[in-house]
């Protein structure tokens, strides 16, 4: 069965049901049920016209639910049983779904889940697996989100910034179990880029592609973390890099810079270096300056200190670090790295150990513990 095709049809079919008079929440539920049915039956009995099958099955599920609801309330069913012909659905329907599912009124975790279901065509179970929560929890999260946005019109201009943030969050969840959220986020960003003409959408897509290109090299044997400088660059996906760079360049010439484009530019400069020592750190610092100008974010300031350390030497990096609030996550890790390069090994080892205690993930903690051990070993071989 062609599952990717099936999933691409989900937002289209939701759009069709809404045009036929279903409200978004019911249409979305109906299509989810039809999707689960399709996943069960299509492998043995593939339909000739998958879209028509899904529309028919979704509409039937919707009517069943509407009838049950009407009888529960002792009312007449107000939706016509025979669907009106209706205008051909526009691709705008899908774009509106992005805006609705990632509505600013929703908490980001709920927006991500709803987007993955209604736009991405994932089942509740798949989303639950990906986020490592029970299926009932995820189902509840999604239905609460739908109640929250109930009654919001589907045809209002949405907040693109929120949509991009949600896709970025999904991308960063990465990979656990059998659902690849990073790949899914890329698919959704690709689709969004085709529906809009915003350089920042292209910027986000380019950023994802350039990061994704390095994924295989980012973990070593047994899942340990491999930092950028130590990665085997022959394992980088040159196809994704080429595509990401082309998308970024086309966006940059539009001359409407935003932070995703700037981040993608930094990722592109890393991707461009055949060895770590060939990295154009001077240009990377310039992009961090742009990014800092755009966002004023302390996290950017922290990453900039690393780049300054590479471009102008560790002492300059430490000076740049002096402007960064020390309570920031990863501050100790960055400080450790710069102090090690500056030759302050004793201090660097202590900072690596401190950073490992402050780490927010197991691979990061293990990596930093190992770095502390490595530097201590340099001191006392």
């Amino acid at each position: 069965m062609n599952e990717p095709l099936l999933r691409e049809l989900v937002p289209v079919v939701i759009g069709i049901l809404v045009r036929r008079g279903a409200d978004f929440a019911s249409a979305e539920d109906a299509v989810q049920e039809a999707l689960i049915r399709a996943l069960e039956t299509w492998p043995d009995d593939p339909p000739r016209d998958p879209k028509a099958w899904l529309v028919a099955a979704g509409w039937r599920k919707f009517l069943d639910a509407a009838r049950a609801e009407a009888s529960r309330r002792g009312r007449e069913l107000t939706v016509r049983v025979e669907p009106p012909a209706g205008p051909a659905p526009a691709t705008d329907d899908t774009l509106r779904l992005y805006f609705l599912c990632a509505h600013p009124a929703l908490p980001s975790a709920a927006a991500a889940a709803l987007t993955l279901r209604a736009v991405g065509g994932l089942t509740t179970r798949q989303i639950a697996t990906a986020y490592l929560v029970p299926e009932a929890t995820m189902a509840q999260r999604i239905s609460r989100a739908k109640r929250r946005i109930a009654g919001l019109p589907l045809d209002q201009p949405g907040d693109l910034g929120t949509v991009l943030r949600v896709l970025y969050l999904v991308f960063n969840e990465g990979y656990s179990g059998d659902v690849d959220l990073a790949a899914e986020a890329i698919r959704l960003a690709r689709q969004l880029a085709a529906l809009t003409d915003e350089p920042e959408v292209a910027g986000l897509l380019a950023l994802m592609l350039l990061h994704h290109a390095r994924r295989a090299s980012r973990t070593g044997p047994g899942g340990c973390l491999v930092p950028l400088g130590d990665q085997d660059r022959s394992r980088w996906d040159t196809g994704l890099i080429t595509e990401g760079v082309a998308i970024l360049q086309a966006a940059l010439v539009r001359d409407r810079l935003g932070d995703y484009q700037a981040q993608a530019a930094i990722a592109a400069l890393h991707a461009d270096a055949r060895t770590a020592s060939e990295t154009d750190w001077v240009q990377i610092v310039e992009w961090y300056d742009e990014l800092l100008h755009l966002t004023g974010s302390p996290v950017v300031r922290l990453n900039r200190a690393v780049a300054v350390g590479e471009a102008d030497g560790p002492q300059a990096g430490l000076t740049a670090l002096a402007d960064v609030p020390p309570d920031l996550p990863r501050y100790a890790a960055v400080a450790a790295y710069l102090h090690e390069r500056a030759g302050h090994l004793e201090h660097a080892a202590e900072l690596y150990a401190e950073a490992s205690r402050a780490a927010t993930s197991v691979p990061e903690r293990d990596h930093l513990t190992r770095e502390a051990a490595r530097v201590r070993h340099l001191l006392r071989p």
Binding site: G222, G223, R357, A358, V362, D366, R370, A373, H377
Partner: protein
């Protein structure tokens, strides 16, 4: 039957061996230890006994209700003397003996010089969800 194997940052009986903190091991010793932990989980999955494993950060605080309309009271960071949980495995095994056996294996994780660290692990049975049929 489900059991919790609790790892502690501190607390529990007096350590059977006095190892330095992990950041003072050699990088190879750290690698071997981390690898052992991964293999342990993988082995449990293979035998169909694995349920869950999680690690906890050392930071955190105590929290309690402080009356209507008042924000919760916090008491933290944790005192140096507090028993501190580092993480756990949840296993689903045939018997108490099997749980103890697995905890023993986990406690043999390699430390400096590749020697077992003899870590104390706390083994706790879960209370079941449904009452046993006694009628």
């Amino acid at each position: 039957m489900k059991y919790l194997l609790l790892k502690h940052y501190r607390g529990g009986p007096t350590p059977a061996a006095d190892w330095p903190p992990m950041d003072q091991w050699t990088p190879e010793e750290v690698d071997a230890h981390v690898q052992f932990m991964r293999d342990f989980a993988a082995r449990l999955e293979e035998t169909g006994e694995f349920v869950d494993t999680q690690a906890l950060a050392a930071g955190g605080t105590f929290v309690r209700y402080d009356g209507e309309g008042r924000p919760p009271v916090t008491d933290g960071p944790f005192a140096e003397t507090k028993d501190l949980i580092a993480g756990w495995y949840v296993i689903d095994v045939e018997s108490w003996d099997r749980a103890v056996q697995l905890a023993g294996e986990l406690s043999a994780a390699p430390g400096p010089g590749g020697k077992p660290i003899y870590e104390w692990l706390e083994v706790r049975p879960f209370l079941g969800e449904s009452p046993a049929l006694t009628e």
